[in-house]
Amino acid sequence: MTTLLIADHDNAALKDATAKAMTAASALGADVHILVAGKDCRPAAEEAAKLAGVAKVLHADADEFEHQLAEPLAALVVSLADGYGALVASATTGGKNFMPRVAAILDVMQISDISAVISPDTFERPIYAGNAIQTVKSNDAKKVITVRVAAFKAAESGGSAEIETITPPDADATSSFVGAEIARSDRPELTAAKIVISGGRAFQSSDNFKKYLEPIADKIGAAIGASRAAVDAGYAPNDYQVGQTGKVVAPELYIACGISGAIQHLAGMKDSRIIVAINKDSEAPIFQVADFGIVGDIFQILPELEKAL
């Protein structure tokens, strides 16, 4: 049976998470259709049609999908579920929000945050903040899956799937969108960046956080991340948080500055290819996972690093 991948997008464009989830969806072995539900989201649907391996794109355009509210989106996915053997979404804040709703309506136990596909019904997923990897087999007839996007490579482009417009079912609205504050940045998205530079509590203020990290990030095209301690202290916005309960990243290079390396933080970055730690405490646990470490004061080392780049 065919697999339905529900796209992560902002109407104007497809998010990188969709291309990564596409790789996991393809690994199930069946044809993959992609659902792009939004408002004026034709550009995102056209991008989805270009992903390699996509057999068809379903395009649903309506006011209620503009902000990806869980209630109408889940109702739409459920209305399409009959034709599919597996429903897949990325485990971003979007997929995590609506997908369990879909699973419950279908009476399916969702498999959350898979990091590998072993067979069409068996998957690996991290538990306990990534301190253990569980292999689970689903006994449900239909699979509902969210994908840890950092664990999969993005699908290539080069496809040219047809785009079919679908009409969503009517539903009573019990929720409505009021507003959003989305940070606009020219830097790459945290979960898609090839290089991530993160700061911790050692920065002592949001001014220092910007002053010492931004010039380096801009020089090497890095995204900026933060530890929970730095976010809790108000040095960095919440969406910078890397860790068990924040974002999971696996860039080519991760530079942890003034971060001690609590297990919850390591859970969000330890699959990075190269890890660098800069910390004045030579005993900090972050050094146990770092390929390269410098013991020293970030306020001295970071300006030197910027110069050396």
């Binding site: 889940a74 306990y128 292999t135 006994n139 019990t174 309960t245 660098v276 050396a308």
Partner: protein, 248 residues
Amino acid sequence: MKIIVPVKRVVDYNVKVRVKPDGTGIDLANVKMSMNPFDEIAVEEALRLKEAGKAEEVVAVSIGPAQAIETIRTALAMGADRGILVKVDGPTEPLAVAKILREIVKAEEPGLVILGKQAIDDDCSQTGQMLAALLDRPQGTFASKVEIDGDHVMVTREIDGGHETVKLDLPAIVTTDLRLNEPRYASLPNIMKAKKKPVDEKTPDDFGVDVTPRLDVIKTADPPGRTAGVKLESAAELVEKLKEAGVL
């Protein structure tokens, strides 16, 4: 308005868990157990709404082994009014938990159910959304702010890229993110008082819910390990090494 807060007994936040050598799961013998940290935030939020005059009663519910009574007592010591313990031996999957909660919600008719956004043991992040779906009610997940406004609740949510605010019809389901509040500690007098607060004991059969797991756990393994690398003396040396590794 009544608020229901489901609370889960999990391995304490500070414990570094160990995988059993035979790969059958996590070694839980003699490990400190606590209330799931996100559920503490949920209890705190419910108590604050009660203290602000927006709610009259806070009911803590736990679904798990007999020892989950301790988790309910923790919620009662923080200030919840009464508890419901649904005893389940063996694993509890979010779908079964949501089905039991649905029956409790039908009987108790709360205005709000506040849950943690995820449990730090299985990291599923499903129960709140599933409960909302089974009740056909709106959901405000990953909340960093919750305001009751007449027949509605305004929920500010932490999402990729920033925040968004949604307005939900009551009754509604809210799941908590880290920065919603800072949970209080229970005082000794309140811990003593909590022992006298009523806790109902139930089983899944009382609600007609089959808790047989849908997922078979085939094995549990250690994650791929990393070993400590080299310590360098200067930023210049670091840049050189990173260029050699091809990441700069």
